[in-house]
């Protein structure tokens, strides 16, 4: 079963990777994004993620549908965390199960790339003396 969720709680990569496994599949590829301590040499104190939640969920659903059309994959799980995140905490997990690992790698990489481009979520980097809403690179 596919799933896509937004949550303010901590993300458990193992639990999420396990949820996408169907009995006939052989490999899961999981992307685990987390809060960096340094961005362009500047030390981040913590991060805040905000989403336009109903639209974000719709866009995530579209991405998963499109991934199934493009790649031979069984299941996809995407969970994005929102709210305040400390350094080292996981902000996103994308887990893709497929009969052949090549498709799992390709789909997982495509999904993270598209998610960063289209899903309405914004990241605020908070420094000791400043804070910045990050603007994405793609439109």
């Amino acid at each position: 079963m596919d799933f896509f969720e937004l949550t303010t709680g901590p993300l458990d990569i193992g639990a999420i990777a396990r949820r996408v496994i169907p009995p006939e599949c052989g490999a899961t590829v999981t992307l685990d994004g987390y809060v960096r301590q340094f961005t362009k040499g500047r030390e981040t104190e913590f991060l805040v993620y905000e989403a336009y939640e109903p639209m974000a969920l719709k866009e995530m659903e579209k991405l998963i549908r499109s991934a199934h059309q493009q790649f031979e994959i069984s299941n996809v799980g995407i969970v994005h965390r929102l709210g305040k995140l400390e350094i080292g905490e996981t902000s996103i997990i994308i887990s893709v199960a497929a009969p052949h690992r090549k498709a799992a790698f390709a789909a997982c990489e495509w999904l993270i790339c598209e998610l960063k481009r289209t899903v309405p979520i914004w990241k605020k980097e908070v420094y000791v003396d400043d804070e910045v809403w990050v603007e994405g690179e793609n439109a």
């Binding site: 336009y52 960063k116 309405p120 990241k123 690179e137």
Partner: protein, 79 residues
């Protein structure tokens, strides 16, 4: 007619609010309403903006309907 305008992240900071109810002329296009919003909050003009109507990305030519939800935000940065 009335439309609800939503702001997120940087646009919410620049507008100083998360929501605004506007009453544009009937059959107003998305782009016209965006221009109206920017007149109210000129700071918004400094950023590259994306918008959506009823949670679907919009390009500006769409005609708005009564009760539509128009969101205005900067380029997304999730992940």
């Amino acid at each position: 007619m009335t439309v609800k305008v939503l702001f997120f992240g940087m646009t919410a900071d620049l507008a100083g609010r998360r929501e605004l109810i506007l009453s544009p002329v009937k059959n107003a296009r998305c782009g016209q309403v965006i221009a109206e919003v920017i007149d109210i909050f000129p700071e918004l003009s400094k950023r590259k903006m994306l918008y959506s109507i009823n949670q679907v990305y919009a390009h500006g030519a769409e005609i708005l309907r009564e009760g539509d939800e128009l969101a205005i935000f900067t380029v997304v940065s999730g992940g």
